[in-house]
Amino acid sequence: MPTAEPTKPLENIRNSLVQVIPEAELLDRDYQECGYHLEVRLVMRGMRRMAREMKDRRFFLETITAVDFLEYFHLIYLFTTYNEASFRVMARVKLLPEVRPFSVWTIYPEAIWLEREVYDFFGIRFEGHPDLKRIINPDDVDYFPLLKNFGKTKFTTDIDDILC
């Protein structure tokens, strides 16, 4: 099986990330197993510094998503580059409930929608987001469907409100 072998650039990005976000924990991951080369573990702070650094290195923001672990969230950012040597960097932000992460929309405009989606499904509110409202679910609903405790609670939607 062929691999997308990370070479020098990975070392470069790793070194600069250590400088930019010294508090982060950097882990090398096996691409064959995980599909990404570098995992950056952050707690709360540093995401915007990292995003700026990635943007300067011509990475694009692939996606933002979250995983609900009941006590805490993992907020996941994936960066990939258009360049020849393609590799993927994942930022994993551990997030306690009720904590507001900073928006990265000033660096990646795409994040406006991606963060709206995360808010829509998980109820994570981003600090400094210009237009944080629901994107996929109807505007007037009060649930966050991808939360783990969502399916277990019985809920109803009053369709009358939508109908007229």
């Binding site: 995980c34 258009y82 393609s86 996929i136 679910n137």
Partner: protein, 369 residues
């Protein structure tokens, strides 16, 4: 013309008006709602409103075993269902560490590439229809029907560890015939569309996506390659049997609608090359690895990227060691591609919005999931 940046509610009352393109509109490819702010015919602002096709795939994944979720990816992007199926299988195989037989990989590549051609036919011809040319649309769909016949013939839906059915003699011969047929048809499309003066006038310099904008918005797929960036997951992170084939990634520098259209047409030819090579060197052997009836991946996560007809898709799967996925997130290329509309549409005419929307070729259920 007013400055798009300075529109507020007051000016909307006086001079500027809003037009709802959708949710029901002949050219929004499904239920898409574009809230367009216009000054006369000039577009000041476009705001796509999505979610009209949201079906909760991601929530559904958390209620299904990995096998039960297998039909779903094909229904996210129904135009390139085989490719999504392929990608989802790869993601789960990566998570479980299943080795897939080479023959199965070849069959997957053949079906994926056939599906890519079918999808590009819709993408390119829907664009032509957005410009008002209806005949190319019907021609393209006619050719697409031939592909669907072939795919129906084998129903080789991917399974974890391989494919369900081996390809048959009829499929093999039929695909050969189809390749010859389609190569002849490109000449027709060239005459009907590419050399059409109105088509070129309508497409050139319309909706230019620069490399910077593409980077900002995470644009991928033919939409990106129309802007001169040769990013294709099939080349950059080779998966399945793709590294064994020689093919090019067509790019165009202009970044306008015409470039995106040309990239799609050129990619179809490349896909034909891949299929031809795969048929030539089809390895013998089993089509499915030994896989338990219900796969139980170890704890962990994995991200699996692949190239659909619309761009780089990714399945991010988190497993908690049970038969049911803990979380599946789909990186939808149409989601990012669509958001570019807000950046590139202002300043164009209303008719151009339809053209640009058609040229970036999105599938709505994939955006909404």
């Amino acid at each position: 013309m007013l400055n798009p940046k300075t529109i507020d509610d007051a000016s909307i009352d006086q001079r500027v008006y809003q037009l709802n393109l959708g949710p029901q509109h002949p050219s929004t490819h499904g239920v898409m709602h574009l809230l367009v702010t216009l000054d006369g015919e000039v577009v000041l602002k476009v705001e796509p409103v999505i979610g009209y096709s949201h079906r909760g795939h991601e929530k559904m994944a958390e209620n299904r075993t990995y096998e039960q979720f297998l039909p779903n990816p094909a229904r996210m992007d129904y135009l390139s269902g085989m490719i999504f199926n392929h990608g989802y299988c790869m993601a789960v195989e990566k998570l479980c560490g299943i080795e897939v037989p080479r023959r199965a990989e070849y069959i997957r590549v053949i079906t994926s590439e056939l599906n890519r051609i079918a999808s590009h036919f819709i993408g390119a011809m829907d664009y032509a229809m957005g410009l008002g040319a209806i005949t190319p649309f019907l021609w393209g769909w006619d050719d697409r029907e031939h592909i669907l016949d072939l795919l129906e013939g084998i129903t080789s839906y991917g399974r974890f560890g391989g494919v369900r059915n081996d390809i048959t003699r009829e499929f093999y011969d039929g695909t050969r015939r189809f390749i010859d047929r389609l190569r002849g048809r490109f000449w027709d499309y060239e005459n009907l569309i590419n050399q059409n003066i109105i088509f070129i006038k309508r497409s050139q310099d319309v909706g230019v996506i620069t490399k910077e904008v593409a980077l900002d918005y995470g644009v991928t797929g033919p939409t990106l390659r129309g802007s001169g960036v040769g990013y294709d997951v099939r080349k950059r992170e080779p998966y399945s049997a793709y590294p064994e084939f020689t093919f090019e990634i067509p790019t165009r520098e202009a970044g306008d609608c015409l470039a995106r259209y040309q990239v799609r047409m050129a990619e179809m030819e490349q896909s034909l090359n891949i299929i031809e090579q795969a048929l030539d060197h089809l390895p013998p052997g089993p089509i499915r690895a030994k896989v338990p009836r219900f796969v139980t991946p170890p704890e962990g996560d994995c991200y699996c990227a692949f190239e659909s007809a619309r761009g780089a898709v990714g399945f991010y799967i988190v497993s908690d060691g049970s038969r049911i996925p803990y979380r599946i997130k789909v990186r939808a290329p149409s989601f990012s591609n669509l958001f570019v509309l807000t950046e590139i549409c202002p300043g164009h005419f209303l008719a151009d919005v339809i053209a640009i929307f058609g040229s970036i070729d999105v599938t709505v259920p994939e955006i909404d999931r």
